[in-house]
Symmetry: C2
Subunit: 412 residues, 2 copies
């Protein structure tokens, strides 16, 4: 086995290195219909070209008034106003209120000129077709959303890199955006390696295991908004691996290798990367548990990551290294990620100083307090990941956590 010597780099060192290498990358954009932009990432700032609403708008059913004309009104001494008509929905009214005049208005209707507020219908009585009793005063601006109060013209409603949620679709619609410029999802090649690994649609022979990583990793790729391209299983053969990775590099933005756990396969991975282009391997091995045997490389501007063979380790390294790469390629903010909650750990857990440890945990609500209960067991077991609600971190500067200590848990 060719010996590769590197200074041990921490996860944040590696992230900085990758950021540096990817800083000049040109993100691909595309324009989609508003409704198809859900979950996508904005490619440009969105600035409102209009005031929203574009007019003073009633928020209740009632009567548009000049507030001053209602001051002091009570049940027993109502203000008497002259009812001059009704505001039609969706139209600009030609009505202009004179002192002590009023017009009927529905929720969403446009206030007539001079009106500054709306009295709710509940606080009025219609005496005859032209006389309205107002039994409660309103303040100027009451029951009205004024022009531009929701969104002012020129407001940056969203910055580029923002991931679009349901309410954002509504906000984009409100300012007339029926097409949205978003970042195209990066293509991520997923390759599994190893002579012992077979596809899930094949019967297992003794000594064989099914290809878990292609599927778990593709799921993570999808979850974070990129597009997986699966290459299936490459046997334990240098030439086959070389041509598969070469092909993957041509057709995608990132190449992920994983699966094979034999010494031979791991050796091939490093050699293939070194021979495909420069600068090649940036780091080999990460001070992380689980996930030590990781290879981080850049080949002709594209990240190539050799993930550990153990499915749990591969998934942890994906979140630590690949998810930030996807964020860069989608133009997302650096800290974009899963939701983190604080919880108390239910038992002592030891860790080596200088190593980040990630522990699969259940979350339990105990008398209103959140507790993280470690799921013990060997790190290669996929059933552990299925049972877990999230992953707690023991930072590298600590040698463990004590029962009852607060830990940060990233939720699945």
């Amino acid at each position: 086995m060719k010996l590769v010597l590197f200074e041990a780099k921490t996860v944040s060192d590696v992230r900085e290195l990758l950021k540096e290498h990817l800083k000049n990358i040109r993100l691909k954009t595309e324009e989609v219909d508003l409704i198809n932009s859900f979950g996508r990432v904005l490619a440009e700032d969105v600035i409102s070209a209009e005031d929203i609403p574009g007019f003073n708008r009633s928020t209740v059913d009632g009567f548009a008034v000049i507030a001053q004309n209602t001051f002091g009104a009570t049940d027993s001494l109502p203000a008497l106003l002259t009812l001059t008509g009704e505001i039609m929905m969706g139209e600009k009214t030609k009505v202009k209120l004179l002192p002590n005049q009023t017009v009927k208005i529905s929720t969403g209707g446009m206030l007539p000129e001079n009106a500054d507020s709306v009295v709710m219908i509940e606080y009025t009585q219609t005496l005859d077709s032209t006389t309205l009793c107002v039994e409660k005063p309103v303040a100027p601006g009451e029951n009205v959303v004024s022009k531009g109060e929701d969104i002012k013209r020129g407001t940056v409603l969203f910055e580029k890199g923002h991931t679009i949620r349901p309410q954002d679709l509504g906000a984009l619609a409100s300012i007339g955006k029926d097409k949205v410029k978003v970042i195209a999802p990066p293509l991520i090649s997923v390759l599994s390696t190893g002579d012992e690994v077979v596809s899930p649609n094949k019967p297992l022979k003794p000594g064989q295991v099914r290809d878990i990583n292609t599927y778990a990793i593709s799921g993570q790729v999808l979850k974070w908004g990129a597009k997986p391209e699966t290459f299936g299983i490459i046997g334990d053969d240098y030439d086959k691996l070389y041509s598969a990775v070469k092909k993957a590099l041509e057709s995608s933005d990132v190449v992920l290798l994983s699966g094979g756990s034999s010494v031979g396969t791991r050796d091939h991975t490093v050699r293939v990367i070194e021979n495909l282009g420069t600068p090649g391997v940036l780091a080999h091995g990460l001070p992380v548990k689980p996930g030590k045997p990781t290879v981080i490389a850049i080949v002709e501007g594209k990240p190539v990551i050799g993930l550990p063979g153990h499915p749990v380790s591969a998934m942890v390294i994906f979140e630590l290294i690949v998810r930030p790469i996807i964020s860069i390629l989608l133009g997302r903010p650096e800290n974009y990620g899963g939701l983190k909650v604080k919880a108390k750990i239910s038992r002592n857990m030891s860790s080596a100083a200088g190593r980040q440890d990630f522990i699969r945990v259940h979350l339990e609500d105990r008398d209103g307090e959140l507790w993280a209960v470690p799921i013990l067991g060997k790190s290669g077991l996929i059933s552990n990941m299925v049972e877990a609600d999230g992953i707690a971190e023991i930072p590298s500067e600590k040698q463990g956590v004590l029962q009852g200590e607060w830990v940060e848990v990233e939720l699945f």
Copy 2:
């Protein structure tokens, strides 16, 4: 306006009523390729037909041994074993260990007969091609995942109704599931109403507003795993609304109406529902703020929901009423929903007893404690929803919350 009198029903009353009406509904299923099952809902329990792993598997690179032969071994007094060969990856070995024999094995390799543990390569020295020094004892089972230790044959790995996450794809692959039976996404018709409402691709005239709700609501439909079918904007006309809702009922599983806020439009909605079929309107008005003017109906077995016209109110009622309907139609557990966290409220907020209040909040980390800061402002403003991180609830039995009190916040 036709007067509709109902006893005031709470949100949970309405949910129970809907559950009762939908209890015999037949869920549509479909079979998809494993990788396409990400985010989908399982239509059946998944039971493993095999032990995983199917054989005793090494978790390290090293030498397979009979643990007893290493007992007492140290650096200075190593156990000397006879090295008889190497286990090939992915193959059943014909080797059967005799006492004091060992074979080389890689991570993932299949243990030979009689071997019960693996010594890591770091704790061995190869003296010559047939002699191995073991410098540290191993316990039986050490560095081995035994047959069925990850997933036992006959284990219910997932129950139907489970939503598939990345690690679940891995687990399904591990037991050989390359096709997955999932629930077909329910079709949800989304109709906007009102003469003042125009499509986002049209210029606004004075008095008009753009159709926000079609987009915000379609986003929510997508977020929760259903499929929106948009019907655009229906003007303030009974006949047009009647035929649009009739068409929507024929082509979809749920019909959502919203948008028009004039008295006339709201009146039409109730009449249309009453005339389309039985049992018709189940509840009219909900003791919820924002969101009071809601119409809940079942027409020939299908839910028809009239959402409030205000976008924020419509979104809140969607989460309270429509999301549980989607869960039923996807066969999800009843409590499936957004993530909730506990936070302290940053100011006093009043509420009416008997009414559930929902407050849009920012979340802030203050000295390691999570605080919910209410976003004040009129409930019709979409910009409020854009700024919010989640929604805090003041339950109906309370008349408010005091600064520093714990509230539950559902995150967006």
